[in-house]
């Protein structure tokens, strides 16, 4: 684990909802701890309803945790802020505004004293960045799903936030469009060194984009059960990453978790309230993969099982 001061620190987070039927309140997740370093791209995955969106909303400041704290850049997160750009699952564009007006609205919020032309130019730069030049005067209803999502990305990037939060941004897109936008996102993030927290259900998307993948167990009492270090080297090419020795071990590990291990935590455990640390999976810890490249140095833990517990 890096020793540098973490950029985002989440401590002992829990969210409890009152029961809809008037019975015991429901603890969606608890004892959630994790850190994100500057420039890191972190993906979260887990089954539907485990509380991923709730965590993202708490990070955004749109929702409040029942227990626990979130610190960003040393300051506690107490409400929404321009420091954290959010890309919503449903793109959340304002349908009465054009593409340019939607992005300009955000830019003007960020820099209220800028002139009209400055705002326009700044917005146009980000519209071009996501490949929407020529469509800036269209209304969202005239755009395809992929184009709308790109406007959402342009809007979030245009305010130059310290951190980006994305809730399944590409969930509603077809595979082809999703691929194109993922490539664009990869490029933009490489250029801007953006710190990203992203929810996804797509294992391949997580592998392509992330530095770290957090796996959430099923709720109630969901946890961050495992953290996978994505050791695939950058820059990554969609067409080439599967050739890397770490690709299949990571993928298999993720799929295995979602299929079977995710059930073994949370409410099904013996002591649901017992605090726990996530296990960390690092493909570099394996020798079975017999890496072909010279870059992979066998580590002292060689021969150990795939997963080992550490204190995160």
């Amino acid at each position: 684990m890096s020793t540098s001061h973490p950029f985002l620190q989440v401590e002992n987070l829990a969210r409890v909802y009152p029961s809809p039927t008037g019975g015991d309140p429901v603890t969606v997740f608890d004892h959630v701890n994790f850190r994100i370093h500057k420039g890191e791209f972190v993906c979260v995955t887990g089954h539907s309803g485990c509380g991923k969106s709730t965590i993202l909303n708490i990070l955004a400041g749109l929702d409040a945790a029942t227990i626990g704290n979130v610190f960003m850049d040393g300051r506690e997160v107490a409400g929404p802020s321009l420091d954290r750009g959010v890309i919503f699952q449903s793109h959340a564009l304002m349908p009465w505004l054009t593409v340019l007006e939607n992005v300009s609205f955000a830019v003007k919020s960020r820099w209220p004293s800028r002139t009209k032309t400055q705002i326009r130019d700044h917005a146009m730069r980000y519209i071009e960045l996501v490949g929407l030049k020529g469509a800036e005067h269209k209304k969202p209803s005239q755009l395809s799903g992929g184009m709308k999502q790109r406007v959402g990305i342009a809007r979030a990037f245009s305010i130059e936030p310290k951190m980006l939060l994305m809730d399944e941004p590409f969930g509603a897109l077809d595979a082809l469009t999703r691929g194109v936008i993922q490539d664009e996102l990869l490029k933009i993030c490489a250029e801007t060194q953006q710190t990203v927290f992203m929810i996804t259900h797509d294992v391949d998307e997580a592998i392509l984009l992330s530095d770290k993948i957090m796996l959430m167990s099923n709720g109630p009492h969901a946890r961050i059960a495992e953290i996978v270090n994505n050791t695939l080297p950058r820059p990554r090419e969609r067409s080439a990453i599967h050739k890397h020795a770490h690709y299949y071990p990571i993928r298999t590990h993720l799929v295995d978790f979602l299929v079977s291990r995710s059930k073994l935590f949370g409410g099904q455990r013996d002591a649901p309230d017992a605090p726990s640390s996530p296990s960390v999976f690092d493909p570099e810890d394996m020798v079975e993969a017999a890496p072909a490249e010279a870059t992979v140095v066998p580590l002292p833990q060689a021969g150990k099982p795939h997963i080992h517990l550490v204190n995160a």
Partner: protein
């Protein structure tokens, strides 16, 4: 071998025209003097009627041609003013429209800001709901005696009645539109730290505008219905008073003419709001 095909618009225009012809024919058959049988033979009859029509049948139902003549006469000089009981139709309509607009915009000035507050706050919504539910079903004309007693001015009283009847649809629609602004748009403005003033005018207002305008359109429709009745009650000026006055004069032709003009003005007002509504509409 090209067959002529009509567009939907052409077809409906033709049908409209046909309905109008049928309507005129039935009207003609129902109102023409007994001596004549067929529509084709009536031309000389009209010539006779045109000379002494009003004298021979002041209270009888006019034929289409008599009607057309009256419409033409009255519309060619709409703004004459020969004292309290004889004013041009333009002047009478202007009085009514002015009252409707005054009452309507007063109501809008109250209903839209209040609707904003109610729509934004569940507490206000629930606190005011019983009053709205109680006051809404009251016929606006029931307020008239109270208005006359307190305001003591006929014209102002009818403006007040218009105010009351325009209030509810705008208030309810504004509150509804504001309360139903999508959470995601509000979340966007929260993450962008948009100040409350800018949020109200740049997010909530445009988001709720179609619903608010629909409420304004309903209000305007009701106001135009009510003004006729209100002016019949209080008298003096306005299209409602004109109708009542002409009925007292037993001039069915003028009553019919007034009815026709009420319809035309109502249609114009409604389509104005329809146009405005289309301008603020958005497609998701």
């Amino acid at each position: 071998m090209k067959r002529m095909t009509l567009t939907l618009g052409q077809k409906s225009a033709l049908l409209s025209l046909a309905l109008f012809v049928v309507f005129l024919l039935v009207w003609q058959l129902a109102t023409q003097p007994e001596t004549q049988g067929l529509a084709a033979d009536v031309d000389p009859e009209y010539a006779a009627l045109m000379g002494g029509g009003t004298a021979s049948s002041a209270s009888s139902f006019p034929t289409p041609v008599q009607m057309a003549q009256t419409v033409w006469e009255r519309l060619s000089d709409p703004f004459y003013d020969n004292g309290p009981n004889d004013k041009g139709i333009g002047i009478q309509l202007a009085y009514s429209i002015a009252r409707v607009l005054a009452g309507f915009f007063l109501a809008a000035a109250v209903a839209i800001p209040l609707g904003f507050v109610i729509g934004n706050s569940r507490v206000f919504y629930q606190a005011l709901d019983p009053y709205v539910q109680l006051l809404k079903p009251i016929s606006p004309l029931a307020w008239m005696p109270l208005a006359l007693y307190t305001i003591k001015d006929a014209s102002a009283s009818s403006i007040f009645v218009i105010f009351i009847c325009s209030l509810w649809p705008m208030l309810i629609n504004t509150a509804h539109g504001v309360a139903n602004v999508k959470k995601e748009w509000l979340d966007v403005s929260r993450t962008l730290e948009v100040n409350p003033f800018r949020k109200a005018f740049r997010v909530i207002l445009p988001a709720a505008a179609p619903t608010i305008l629909a409420g304004m359109r309903i209000s305007m429709g009701i106001a135009w219905l009510v003004i006729v009745a209100a002016e019949m009650l209080v008298g003096g000026t306005g299209i409602g008073y004109f109708v009542w006055n002409e009925w007292n004069n037993l001039s069915i032709t003028n009553v019919l003419f007034a009815i026709f003009m009420i319809g035309v003005v109502g249609m114009v007002l409604d389509s104005l709001f329809g146009l405005l509504g289309r301008r603020v509409a958005y497609q998701e």
